[in-house]
């Protein structure tokens, strides 16, 4: 049986790991490779590295980092941040990334999803969506959650699916950083309408939250950052807990 995945997310700025709490206010949380290895040893199923530097030099530093991660870490990892065109995807996959995550660029130019799927295969294309509940329902946001769009979460996720995305990484901005659980209702709606895996993100605070994302939200994977980075939840204990709760875990 296919196992549910636990994915720590590492935000990278100038080659170092950082984590935004509710998208603002950064605290340092260590060396990206040491941290990634530690998570892998604890039983993380995958890693996500997000480049939050926008500068040209920052991008070069990040590409070099991706090469080092690929040499040292023996589980799959996804990279994201600043990916706008096919050449960015090519550069990161060549450096050794297994998948790329695209966000704002996909909303601005949805054909990018088709292009990635055609050139490299759907399995490398993770479409990340930041969304928030508004009076009009769940709306997608751009630029790390700073810019609201007219796009509906469910309509956009389905379009990304149909264009050839391999996975949807859904972050609820309402839940992110609040630590009161994932957006399980929205997750369950996504799971019932999409034919590709859904990664839950935003809201992890306690171990039960992961269980609920799998049992109520029907997510295929759950992603978190600060609860892991600051040692509030250990991945090893989390996996033991989930196994006891009857969830298929590696």
């Amino acid at each position: 049986m296919l196992a549910k995945r636990i994915i720590p997310c590492l935000d990278i700025k100038d080659g170092q790991t950082v984590k935004g709490v509710n998208f603002v206010g950064l605290r340092s949380a260590g060396d990206p490779i040491e941290l990634g290895k530690a998570y892998s040893d604890q039983g993380a199923d995958e890693l996500v590295y997000l480049d939050i530097t926008a500068s040209h030099e920052g991008r070069k530093t990040f590409t070099e980092l991706v090469g080092r991660i690929a040499r040292e870490i023996n589980i799959p990892f996804t990279v994201g941040g600043g990916i706008n065109e096919l050449s960015d995807v090519d550069r990161l996959l060549n450096a050794g990334a297994d998948k790329v995550s695209i966000n704002s660029a996909a909303i601005r130019r949805p054909e990018l999803i088709d292009e990635i799927a055609r050139h490299f295969g759907s399995q490398v294309c993770v479409v990340a969506i930041d969304a928030k509940q508004t009076a009009q329902g769940w709306r997608c946001f751009l630029n790390g959650g700073r810019l609201e769009t007219e796009r509906d979460l469910f309509v956009w996720a389905k379009e990304a699916n149909d264009r050839g995305a391999g996975e949807i990484l859904f972050t609820s901005m309402d839940h992110d950083g609040v630590k009161e659980g994932f957006a399980n209702e929205a997750l369950a709606s996504l799971a019932s309408t999409l034919s590709i895996p859904v990664i839950a993100s935003g809201g992890a605070g306690r171990m039960e939250h992961f269980r609920d994302a799998f049992t109520e939200g029907h997510a295929d994977a759950a992603l978190a950052a600060s609860v892991f980075h600051f040692g509030e939840i250990s991945i090893k204990e989390l996996k033991e807990y989930l196994r006891k709760e009857g969830i298929c875990i590696r």
Partner: protein, 204 residues
């Protein structure tokens, strides 16, 4: 030890190179007949589409060469599928090392998504599925280790099956016939379990 990786249009193979380097081996990436023939081990990796890769292999006369290899050969993912007789992917005739046909997953339940992507267990010893003893390739992993899969097509159970994986239905997670070994999963991405399988292959 000389380890050669078959060079063809197989997409990104740097993770296989990195995994071998973590095991202390620097592989040679080559499509040169002599180099492949003389290597101690040959790895036939893969990522890509069956038809375009088979066309490439035929045009470069690598198809016959791979079949004629006498040292231990390990096919990975699409490499394993190409070592079979035929693939449903674009109706492709393959190398025919393993006398079995590759099928596409036809799930009937909503939660079985295609491609299968993620960690699934492989049963390395099963009376039920006629895998009577653990193959040397899969030794030392425990009874039901988890490994990392990304694929839409699968090899059905057959006399060469040495590991059984269950997704949609039980199928071949790994094959062995004479000097030819093949795995559907990615040992290079399967953590310590994958590393042990690579070391097992090098030690055959």
């Amino acid at each position: 030890m000389k380890v050669a990786i078959v060079k063809y249009n197989a997409g990104n193979i740097c993770s296989v190179v990195n995994a071998l380097e973590r095991c202390g081996v620097t592989p040679i990436l080559t499509d040169d007949f002599e180099v492949l023939k003389c290597a101690d081990r040959v790895i036939f990796p893969g990522q890509g589409q069956a038809n375009t890769t088979m066309t490439y292999l035929r045009e470069h006369h690598l198809d016959q060469l791979i079949k004629d290899l006498r040292q231990p050969v390990l096919g990975i993912c699409i490499g394993m599928q190409l070592m079979c007789r035929h693939s449903e992917e674009a109706d492709t005739d393959c190398l025919g090392i393993f006398d079995v046909d590759v099928k596409r997953f036809q799930p009937t339940r909503r939660e079985d998504k295609v491609p299968q992507m993620g960690w699934n267990s492989i049963n390395v010893k099963s009376e039920e599925w006629s895998v009577k003893s653990v193959d040397p390739l899969l030794e030392g992993l425990g009874p039901l280790p988890f490994v990392y899969y990304v694929h839409s097509y699968y090899v059905p159970l057959c006399p060469y099956t040495i590991g059984v994986t269950d997704y949609v239905q039980p199928y071949s997670g790994a094959l062995h016939k004479d000097n030819f070994y093949a795995v559907q999963f990615h040992p290079e991405k399967s953590g310590p379990v994958g590393e042990r399988i690579i070391r097992n292959f090098l030690a055959l």
